[in-house]
């Protein structure tokens, strides 16, 4: 079930009413109910994969208990290994099997050998990368004695499969979400309104920004060989907003939904396109994944301890792994590598923590220096997105070479009349950026917009947002991050 579907528009109010009005007296019943509706939510995609989800949940629950009860460190390690091996085994099989087979065959043919290997027609279970990482974080935290394992299977299963975060995150930590599952939740009017507001904003980002951009992005990327250099730049810029609107829109809906039900999920985005350097960008983009890799990969590898060489090596590793996590394609690996290259100067010069606060805090406009920094960071990021969006490496490289053609300085709309309507898309992006800029100090852009004004003014603004959604709402478009 998609967050932007009619099914969800019926599903969520029903869940809300049953949860708060019928089951509000019993935490256990509320949790069982949420678990059941989470499984129902997932089954809308493919009920057969519920067994995989249930198995993965049971495995981590069981190994968590075993690690905690193990009498020796060797036994702990064995149970940890079992959990990691099986979890990553499933992930590897469903997500990476064909990639490894094809890459191996290509390597063989490059050295003149023929490998007759067959690939499988495998369905990638939606959300597998996300719920695998949920489970792994739980097992790692138990192993590292950060938490004690829960003995309540329902609570643990709900932590893994809570429907707002099940298919595309944020990647939660047991230390953050499990205590909320275990605690009695009381209805809070202000938080519920806040949740609804964030859902509205998420839908705007997804339907008005991302889906509108998607039309032109697909047109340009799918016919990149016939477009001018300037048009290809337009395609890349629109994709930058498409992916941001798509993924952060999804996250806003997830966070808003969770808040309606009394939960607070981890923040996943914090205005990444208002970053002054790449290090800041990565502190603001897909935060739950970056911190996951930091805590469970970068730090165990030694982190920044052990000298500059290790620091560079570890940074390179987490960016490559992060790229690979996104998908079984060399384009994602190059995207990760490119970002690693971007961030290296600031790692070496130790300037990677220069910008910890939001840009131009308390000011209306950024300084010229900040504006240049924002532009350069956005340009670098957008360039890397070309690899993320391209079908394969060859496509990405031909797209980039197409940019640097003689018609780089032509006007896209004049040379390609079919793109004329994309002006509307650009205008929408400008409005969106203005709102995001105004609200950049808040959890999400419209959190406090109109709070001091009369309710009528506030509602007029919300209605404007709602109607722009309705005017853009066509066929349900899937969220990009469902495939990861």
């Amino acid at each position: 079930m998609l967050f932007n579907s009619f099914e969800y528009a019926i599903f969520l109010p029903l869940v809300f009413i049953v949860y708060w009005f019928l089951l509000n007296k019993s935490l256990t019943l509320q949790n069982i109910f949420l678990l059941l509706v989470s499984y129902l939510f997932y089954s809308f995609w493919d009920w057969r994969f519920l067994f995989l989800l249930a198995f993965s949940t049971f495995l981590d629950y069981f190994t968590g208990l075993r690690i905690s009860n193990a009498t020796s460190s060797d036994k702990k390690k064995i149970w940890l290994f079992i959990s990691v091996f099986v979890n990553l085994g499933f992930l590897g099989f469903f997500k990476y099997y064909n990639f490894f087979i094809e890459s191996f065959a290509e390597l063989m043919s490059a050295i003149g050998l023929k490998a007759h290997l067959t690939t499988l027609n495998i369905i990638l279970p939606v959300g597998i990368s996300f719920y695998t990482f949920h489970g792994l974080s739980y097992v790692f935290d138990i192993y590292n004695k950060k938490i004690r394992p829960t003995t309540n299977w329902v609570e643990y299963a709900l932590f893994v499969s809570f429907f707002p975060l099940l298919v595309a995150g944020p990647i939660e930590r047991a230390t953050h979400l499990l205590p909320q599952v275990e605690k009695i939740r009381t209805f809070d009017y202000t938080k519920a309104v806040d949740g609804l507001r964030q859902i509205l904003w998420g839908l705007f980002k997804k339907i008005v920004i991302a889906d509108t951009c998607a039309v032109y992005v697909n047109l340009i990327f799918n016919n990149s060989e016939s477009y001018s250099g300037s048009t290809l730049i337009l395609g890349a810029v629109l994709f930058a907003f498409q992916i941001y609107g798509d993924f952060s829109g999804y996250t806003d809906i997830a966070l808003g939904t969770a808040r309606l039900l009394g939960f607070e999920l981890l923040k996943n985005f914090s205005y990444p396109y208002f970053s002054r350097d790449i290090a800041e960008f990565w502190r603001r983009w897909h935060i739950s994944l970056s911190t996951w890799f930091r805590d469970y990969l970068y730090i165990p590898l030694g982190g920044s301890r052990g000298g500059m060489y290790k620091k560079i090596r570890n940074t390179l590793i987490i960016f490559l792994v992060s790229g690979f996590w996104h998908g079984a394609n060399w384009t994602f690996i190059v995207w990760g590598l490119l970002n690693a290259i971007y961030i290296m100067p600031s790692i070496i010069l130790k300037t990677n923590r220069n910008h910890l606060d939001i840009v131009a805090s308390g000011k209306l406009f950024p300084s010229i220096k900040e504006a240049v920094q924002l532009f350069v960071t956005f340009a670098l990021t957008t360039f890397a997105w070309i690899f993320f969006r391209a079908n394969d490496l060859h496509h990405a490289l031909s797209y980039i070479s197409g940019i640097f053609s003689y018609d780089l300085f032509s006007i896209p709309f004049l040379t390609h009349p079919e793109l004329f309507k994309s002006i509307i898309c650009i205008m929408l992006i400008v409005v969106f950026l203005v709102i995001e800029w105004i609200g950049r100090s808040n959890k999400y852009a419209i959190e406090k917009i109109g709070q001091r004004q009369h309710r009528l003014v506030r509602w007029a603004f919300y209605y404007a947002v709602a109607f722009s959604i309705l005017l853009s709402y066509g066929k349900n478009q899937e969220f990009i991050y469902f495939q990861f």
Binding site: F6, L470, L471, K475
Partner: protein, 330 residues
């Protein structure tokens, strides 16, 4: 507090909800070129084919000719577009759904051209891919539901609010001069400027589109899979009445392209007609007596003229059959 939240939330969402919900009920022939065809009851007589038939054959014109001859038929145009309704399993199933299973003595017009029988050969797991499977005709199971929520929610390609917007534009008389109107009998009325420069421009574009989308001779081949389904549809219709295979006229330039990519088309259609004991009405050489909006589609007045011709042929055939039947009984 919970009740207050529900009250205010409902109040806020009421207007958008009412607008969305009402748009499902006000959808009509102006909504899009397909919707009405999925809302009318199951039919006893049918016209099938691509957009050439959708725009070029007027059920009302055929009905009026047949009515004059004492036959009370209600024809229905169930033709869509070249992408939606080429002959294949999707169209076959949809036609089966749309036809009243108790229909008897029906009249069925099956329009043909090389493009509705073309298929770019692609296979997945050794199964032929018919691209139309994933379009609305392949997805809509209920073809006689009114209102058709299934279609509006999952196949309608514009935002639902556009249904209201289109209605408002019409009420305020702000509609552009080019418009589409899908009549209740399934005929798609297309109103466009018929100034000769505009028409020539559209013909040039159509020719360019055909050249871009289809291979040229000698690489163009009719698909045996599509021909198989054309035969199946004819066989199916024959169980419920009389079938007429029709080739609609097109502009000379497009006719030349069709003759070039598929010179054997008419002889193949004659074979199919003979094999199935149906008539083949070939109007392809009548280009000069009709007007076209873009070379590929008949202008509405010409569509009327052609439909009357088809109606007259059917009427004569019916009268002749009746005469032979009556004579036979003596």
């Amino acid at each position: 507090m919970k009740k207050k939240f529900i009250k205010r939330g409902t109040l806020f969402l009421l207007l958008p909800f009412l607008l969305l919900a009402s748009s499902l009920f006000i959808a009509d022939g102006r909504t899009d070129p397909y919707y009405i065809r999925f809302t009318t009851p199951k039919q006893n007589n049918m016209i099938v084919g691509s957009s050439r038939a959708a725009q070029g054959i007027l059920p009302s014109a055929i009905d009026s000719i047949l009515n004059k001859g004492g036959y009370h038929t209600t024809m229905f145009n169930y033709a869509f577009t070249i992408n939606q309704s080429p002959y294949g399993p999707t169209y076959y199933e949809s036609i089966k759904n749309k036809l009243n299973e108790n229909a008897k003595n029906g009249i069925f017009i099956v329009t043909v051209d090389p493009w509705t029988l073309y298929l770019k050969e692609e296979k997945e797991n050794n199964k032929i891919i018919f691209p139309e499977d994933n379009l609305s005709l392949g997805k809509i199971k209920c073809v006689d539901c009114h209102p058709n929520f299934d279609y509006l929610l999952y196949s309608y390609s514009s935002p639902l609010l556009m249904i209201w917007m289109t209605k408002l534009l019409r009420i305020l008389n702000l509609e552009g001069k080019e418009s589409l109107y899908l009549h209740n009998d399934g005929w798609l009325e297309v109103s466009v400027g018929m100034d000769s420069t505009e028409v020539q421009k559209r013909i040039r574009k159509k020719i360019k589109d055909l050249e871009n989308e289809y291979p040229s001779a000698p690489d163009f081949h009719l698909s045996s899979d599509r021909i198989y389904y054309l035969n199946k549809i004819i066989e199916f219709f024959r169980k419920h009445g009389e079938v007429f295979l029709v080739r609609i006229p097109v502009h000379e330039k497009i006719k030349d392209i069709e003759n070039k990519v598929c010179p054997q088309f008419d002889s193949l259609m004659n074979d199919i007609a003979r094999k199935n004991s149906v008539d083949y009405l070939n109007f392809i050489n009548d280009s000069t007596i009709y007007e076209f909006t873009d070379g590929n589609h008949l202008y509405k007045d010409s569509g009327h003229k052609l439909s009357e011709k088809i109606g007259e042929f059917i009427l004569n055939k019916q009268l002749q059959d009746n005469f032979e039947e009556t004579m036979g009984s003596f």
